[in-house]
């Protein structure tokens, strides 16, 4: 067991990149402003200086080419980690990610392998508005051939990113910009969190809250608040949205018989609906109440903080949903 150190989520990501680049000279980074600027959110800080411009590539503003080049480099055995400054900009590269990265292995009966990691920050919180605030994870979970990861702590940020880089499938790695500054204990050196494993963040017997990314912290806060009232909430975080660790989710729901799903994406055809459908399939006869969903409201994200507050998921929303689930 290696010693841990308290660092931020963004430092943890940076550490993962640095370690994997040292470990394998075929790992390289490509994206807008990832070099001299160290990335818009500083995730790649210092890597250009350490690894040089062959392995930390500042690109033109050409999202489709960045993703396409990532696919091509992966096809010949390199291990690209590409960065999108906001997930919203992935809309420009969907063909390369969905029609190519995700499908090449299957379409070629395994001849092609695309070990590509696509990183992007998601969601709102800093008033950048509708074109800089989307959480579109559901789109990618919908696409066979992709894996989708979303860490909520610095330790997982590091451990999951290292695993994603070593994975031989295209992995979408989604970061929440409101978490970048959060600090927490992170094991130094080799620390791998396997893809596909959910985790129990807090044990409880009365209600299961399944939360992703930033909302895990809202769920934990809600759980503490409800604990004070004598309700024991179990908080579970999938960490990997696809493949989903349904076993752990079902185990919990079969125990608590009630569930709430929290996600920063929009509700309609969002990730929460998928979790509800999956839990339903496995736990229907164990459920005492309808599963509650807490999601971003189904509107584009507004800029004004007064309005943004209305649209984003809040701790109060989670508490309210828990009470509804418990009351039913």
């Amino acid at each position: 067991m290696n010693s841990t150190k308290a660092i931020s989520y963004v430092e943890a990501l940076n550490q993962a990149l640095r370690e994997e680049m040292h470990r394998n000279h075929l790992v390289f980074i490509m994206g807008e402003d990832v070099g001299e600027l160290g990335g818009l959110f500083k995730v790649t800080q210092g890597l250009l200086q350490e690894f040089g411009s062959d392995r930390v590539i500042d690109t033109p503003i050409s999202e489709a080419a960045i993703a396409g080049a990532g696919v091509g480099a992966a096809l010949v055995g390199a291990r690209p980690v590409i960065e999108f400054q906001f997930m919203d900009f992935m809309t420009i590269a969907m063909d390369q990610i969905v029609n190519h990265a995700a499908k090449l292995r299957y379409m070629t009966a395994g001849m092609a392998s695309v070990p590509l990691v696509v990183r992007a920050p998601i969601c709102a919180g800093i008033g950048l508005g509708a074109q800089h605030s989307q959480s579109l994870e559901a789109w990618f979970v919908h696409v066979p051939g992709l894996k989708v990861v979303m860490p909520s702590t610095p330790a997982d940020a590091k451990g999951l990113l290292k695993s994603a880089i070593r994975d031989n499938n295209p992995v979408l790695f989604l970061e929440h910009r409101l978490l970048y500054a959060q600090t927490g204990p992170v094991p130094e050196g080799e620390h791998l969190v396997p893809l596909g494993r959910a985790v129990v963040r807090r044990a409880g017997s009365d209600l299961t809250v399944i939360a992703t990314g930033r909302t895990v912290h809202l769920a934990l806060a809600a759980a503490r608040l409800l604990a004070a009232e004598g309700t024991e909430v179990e908080v579970i975080e999938p960490r990997t949205l696809k493949p989903l660790d349904t076993a752990l989710l079902s185990k919990s729901v079969k125990k608590t018989n009630r569930a709430v799903v929290v996600n920063d994406g929009c509700r309609s055809c969002g990730y929460a609906s998928e979790v509800v459908a999956s839990v339903m399939e496995e736990c229907f006869f164990h459920l005492d109440a309808p599963i509650q969903m807490v999601c971003t409201k189904d509107v584009p994200m507004p800029v004004s903080s007064t309005l943004q507050k209305e649209v984003m998921v809040s701790e109060e929303d989670v508490v309210r949903a828990c009470r509804t689930a418990l009351a039913a």
Binding site: L37, D58, G127, V299, S304, K309
Partner: protein
Amino acid sequence: MGISRTCQPPASGSEPISAETRLEWYTCMCTIRAFDREIITLNRAGLVAGTAHLYIGMEAIAVGACAAMGKSDLLTSTHRGHGHCIARGLDMGRMMAEILGRADGYCQGKGGSMHITAVSQGMLGADGIVGGGIPIAVGAALGLRLKRDDSVIFCFFGEGAVNQGSFHEALNFASIHRLPVIFVCENNQWALSAAFAKTTAGQSVSGRATAYAMVGETVDGNDVEAVFLAASEAAQRARSGSGPTLIECLSYRHEGHSIFTRQEIRPSEEIEHWKRQDPIERYRRLLIAGQIATVERLKEIESEVRSDAERAVMFAKNSPEPDPATALSGVYE
């Protein structure tokens, strides 16, 4: 009543440009700068909603180009759009209110600086997506043609957008249909931290026009009259059915990329060099040398525009926060 500027074309399109037109252009450039300067202060006070990309240093482009626009002409803007809005005569109070995310803003606080829009004034919108507005401008031109409307459309974008696929597809599309679009590239040399020369093969925006059998021209983007002349010729070409033009305006931004991303990686000598080319200062010297205005008159103008900007700030600060209920409405008609 609103706080706004106009930058008229010369009485007739004919030379020479009259003294009052020149003063109007000078006033408009100063207004843009004063407006954006206020944002720096407002941001320190934590009053800006989200981010804002300042136009300081590039004023001659918006003023010169918009001076070539007719009443019914249209424009699409970018994330760095305050200059285009002011030059097009938008209300600075409502602009500033939007930048602060207030109820009286053009978008009632929903859009912020990156989405200021005034369809009634032909301003089809700023855009948060680099290159996003280019095909939209082309489509608007197509729509105008279908409506037998002979207006033209000015499409602004930064040089960083010229490596986007949307730029390529849109220019090809505009050219094959000879659409009345004036593509105005604001080449301020940098796209966030990306140097034009390092990211752009050929290192010339206007040079790419030939690929689309389009007239391309590079002009001094810090010379408002040079921009005006190029823009009016292009507009003329567009109106006469001779199709689109790509104008590359060389300029520079004096401030950081945005109030959100201020870290500076541009060489300080380069910044200093360009500040010495300040379009406002240059025009000021020209107006005085040409005895078009006295130092006193210009001082008057400068204080006028400052007070206008302050009034815009006042208006914005006094504007209420939007009603929270509005957050959930207005997605569909």
